[in-house]
């Protein structure tokens, strides 16, 4: 699971209903603070790093249902954090 961004994910879920008015855009969240929404992943990431530097922040595409990534090869899950 994504424990490192747990607070940000909870903030997203709490604000999702209002954020869906901008479905398709990318939102940047740090803790419980929403920095803004952006047209592209690149723009959102740049804004996140400019504001929060190397502190944790979440970039998430605003979608009613998250698109699933499919991997046809079976791999164990692990993260470097």
């Amino acid at each position: 699971m994504a424990d490192a961004l747990e607070t940000e994910l909870k903030t997203y879920e709490a604000q999702k209903k209002s954020l869906l008015a901008q479905e398709g855009k990318f939102v940047v969240i740090h803790g419980t603070e929403i920095l803004g929404t952006y047209a592209s992943y690149e723009d959102a990431l740049k804004a996140g790093y400019e504001k929060y530097k190397l502190e944790p922040f979440l970039v998430k595409k605003i979608q009613a249902v998250d698109a699933v990534n499919f991997v046809t090869r079976d791999l164990p899950f692990s993260c470097p954090t």
Binding site: K53, D66, L75, S78, T81
Partner: protein
Amino acid sequence: MPHLTLPVTSDGPVVELIVGISTAREAALKLAGKPRPSPIILRCLIDTGATGTCLDSGAIGPLGLSPTGTTPITTPSTGKTPHTCETFDVGITFYHPDSSRFFGTVPIVALDFSAQPIDGLLGRDVLANCLFVYDGAAKTFSIAF
């Protein structure tokens, strides 16, 4: 459009990618006065069955990345319930002697490839910017970027 034509190995159509931190993260590191980690070279299987690019969590460790997203992932063993994975932003370069191509911001998923003969999967997110030709009869593949 620069391209590479390479042999199909026993591991499949594998291409070496130069993987480093994203352009945005590099700027943040510079402002913080921290050194930029050296890019690494990873052997990645071109996988049209992978929605997004996945890299070995151990291999990208030296880049010192922090997660900047999450994504649900389905593999053959997850069944109907996807597993939520963290995503990390990286920069990926296709090396070409005359005209390398740099993708400055690519969200990747870190998975465990330690039991695999490859360091990752080059998925359709990056392939969306490429032309990929698999010539099974000639045992070669070409990728233009």
